[in-house]
């Protein structure tokens, strides 16, 4: 998400990229479930990230080569993925008998399952799994790529001013595709973690709107790695706290979505204020004169 924002792209498709990553991880994890963990897990990891990246790169390509607004493409992609998953699980190749009551795929191999590091017995209502390490690793990689590599510099340059970057010999179109692919890779990783850490399979209605929240998280985190982590924790607390409040205190969980909505709206309003403040400042040329 945040990677794409940095290059000035607005990626609404995180939801579908997450789902594609989850489906790829679930399919590969189940198909090659007989392999031992050290071999299986990297394959599932690559499948999840790769599928998310490839799916997002389509939107990046259409933007770069055909000038199609990525918002339109990614929203359309969200719907396409939802229906394709319905098909895959209801009467497509991934349909498997199960006792969940909803259409679901076969479970992934044990080797690909992320171990749980804090079991329910220790701290109730958590299922903290090793995915947290993958997430932390992803944040570090994100920071390193964006701030410590030539590619990251070029991506940020395109985000700050595509035309100026082009003058400096950076092709904005290539970087549009790369940025979307990286963003899709992170979303695919998120989907892969959901499959390997929490559900161990893909089922109908898998996504609980994580991708939608990601837009809010990236905006709130202002696209910096630390900010994204803090914002993700806040929204995680919203989601978790919402259901606990409803169970224990009779407080509506919808209140949480209202608060989330207000948070996002305040962010938007804050953006607006910043735009206004910049307008009021002296223009560069006048400042020199």
């Amino acid at each position: 998400m945040a990677v794409a924002f940095r290059t000035g792209l607005f990626n609404i498709g995180a939801e579908s990229q997450l789902l594609v990553g989850a489906v790829a991880a679930g399919a590969v994890g189940a198909r090659f479930g007989f392999l031992p963990g050290p071999i299986l897990f990297p394959i599932v990891l690559v499948a999840g990230i790769g599928a998310g990246a490839a799916w997002a790169a389509i939107a990046g390509y259409l933007k770069a080569a055909r000038g199609v607004n990525e918002v339109i493409t990614t929203i359309m992609q969200n719907y396409i993925v939802v229906f394709v998953i319905h098909w895959l699980l209801q009467n497509g190749p991934m349909t498997a008998p199960n006792a969940l009551g909803t259409p679901a795929s076969a479970p992934i191999g044990d080797g690909a399952v992320l171990p749980i590091i804090i079991p329910n017995e220790l701290v109730p209502l958590t299922r903290l799994h090793a995915g947290i390490f993958l997430a932390i690793l992803a944040v570090v990689v994100f920071w390193f790529v964006l701030w410590r590599t030539p590619l990251g510099y070029e991506l940020r340059a395109v985000g700050l001013g595509a035309r100026a970057a082009a003058q400096a010999g950076i092709d904005p179109r290539v970087h549009t595709v790369i940025a979307m692919a990286i963003a899709g890779g992170f979303a695919g990783l998120a989907g892969m973690i959901q499959v390997t850490g929490v559900f161990h399979r893909v089922f109908d209605g898998f996504s609980a709107g994580y991708g939608f929240d990601a837009i809010a998280v990236a905006l709130l985190g202002k696209n910096s790695p630390i900010g994204v982590v803090l914002a993700a924790l806040l929204f995680g607390a919203f989601a978790r706290g919402g259901s606990i409040m409803q169970a224990n205190a009779g407080v509506s969980a919808q209140l949480v979505s209202v608060i989330e909505a207000i948070v996002l709206f305040v962010i938007a309003a804050e953006l607006i204020v910043r735009i206004l403040a910049r307008r009021r400042g002296p223009k560069p040329l006048e400042a020199i004169a």
């Binding site: 929203i75 098909w87 979505s257 909505a261 996002l264 709206f265 953006l271 307008r279």
Partner: protein, 314 residues
């Protein structure tokens, strides 16, 4: 698989029913974007229209008042977007998405506050169907259009009216000029911002009418997030219909037909192969991507679509 399942009267009637809310959202999109403002808050406008329509129908027992309240709610939400997009020149996508999430949270919360877990009342005032007596007896046609909802017909009328307004009247020409070249429009004395405000408000009214259709004509109730992305599909129909009302209606019918087919072909098979109805449902979205990418026909948005306008001398 039978012909009845493909083009039976039941399928065509369902197509009209399913296309109506999409067409209303698409009409709103056409007006807003022709004036140069991208309004992806249409989804949120539909949702508040659906909800406040139900609340008003419950409190007043009047369909007319319910529709009025619904459309007013849509206009209020669109008004916020208009201020952000036109006056404050903020990112129209960010503002629109924020309003969509706000609408989802607000309606879910108020739904819970007003109606708790029991759902909205069962005896809501409903928008009546139009019974066309002479047609009802005609075999095929009677089944398709003999008793469609009032809002279905209203939508057809609105499509024609807005098509004529945009392309055959002076105010319509001015609105399009504002969307294509606002500076030139202002030079000849057209109020760019005023025109855009009216266009965005109108888009909110239309989308909210589509939302009220869902809750007061089809479902006779409100459920959280019941618009299910139809506002976004409306935007797709607008693009596929090349930013014209009639094109948007045709695109909406195509989308509606796809959905109607996926219902009627449920469990159908060709030979031994089950028809993958879910894949059929992806057709509108695939078509839209191909259309905007220029692979299917040419599709060009208004030149100043989504670009905030600033008068000179600032």
């Amino acid at each position: 698989m039978t012909w009845e399942q493909l083009i039976g009267a039941g399928v065509l009637a369902a197509m009209l029913r399913l296309a109506t809310p999409i067409a209303l959202a698409a009409l709103g999109g056409v007006i807003a974007e022709r004036s140069g403002v991208v309004n992806i808050a249409l989804e949120g406008c539909m949702l508040v229209g659906a909800f406040f329509g139900v609340v008003a129908a419950d409190r007043t027992h009047s369909v007319v008042l319910a529709l009025a309240v619904a459309m007013a709610a849509g206009a209020v939400l669109a008004g916020v977007h208009a201020v952000a997009a036109i006056h404050l020149r903020s990112d129209q996508i960010v503002s629109g998405m924020a309003l969509n999430i706000l609408a989802l949270g607000l309606t879910s919360f108020l739904d819970y506050q007003f109606y708790g877990n029991t759902g909205t009342p069962a005896d809501l005032a409903a928008v009546p169907d139009v019974e066309i007596a002479p047609l009802a007896a005609v075999p095929f046609i009677g089944d398709v259009i003999g008793h469609q909802n009032t809002i279905v017909w209203l939508t057809v009328v609105l499509v024609v009216l807005i098509q004529v307004f945009l392309f055959r009247t002076v105010p319509g020409l001015r609105l399009r000029a504002v969307g294509e070249h606002p500076r030139a429009a202002e030079t000849v004395g057209i109020g760019v911002r005023r025109t855009r405000y009216w266009a965005v408000l109108a888009s909110g009214l239309l989308a909210a009418l589509g939302g009220a259709y869902l809750s007061l004509s089809v479902a006779h109730s409100f459920t959280d997030g019941m618009t299910g992305g139809r506002g976004f599909i409306g935007l797709a129909a607008m693009i596929f219909g090349r930013w014209t009302p009639i094109g948007a209606l045709v695109a909406s019918l195509v989308f509606g037909y796809g959905t109607a087919l996926s219902f009627s072909l449920q469990g159908a098979s060709i030979g031994d192969v089950r028809v993958p109805v879910q894949l059929l449902s992806t057709l509108p979205y695939v078509l839209t991507i191909l259309a905007v990418a220029g692979f299917v026909g040419r599709s060009r948005p208004p030149a100043s679509d989504g670009i905030p306008y600033e008068t000179e001398g600032h």
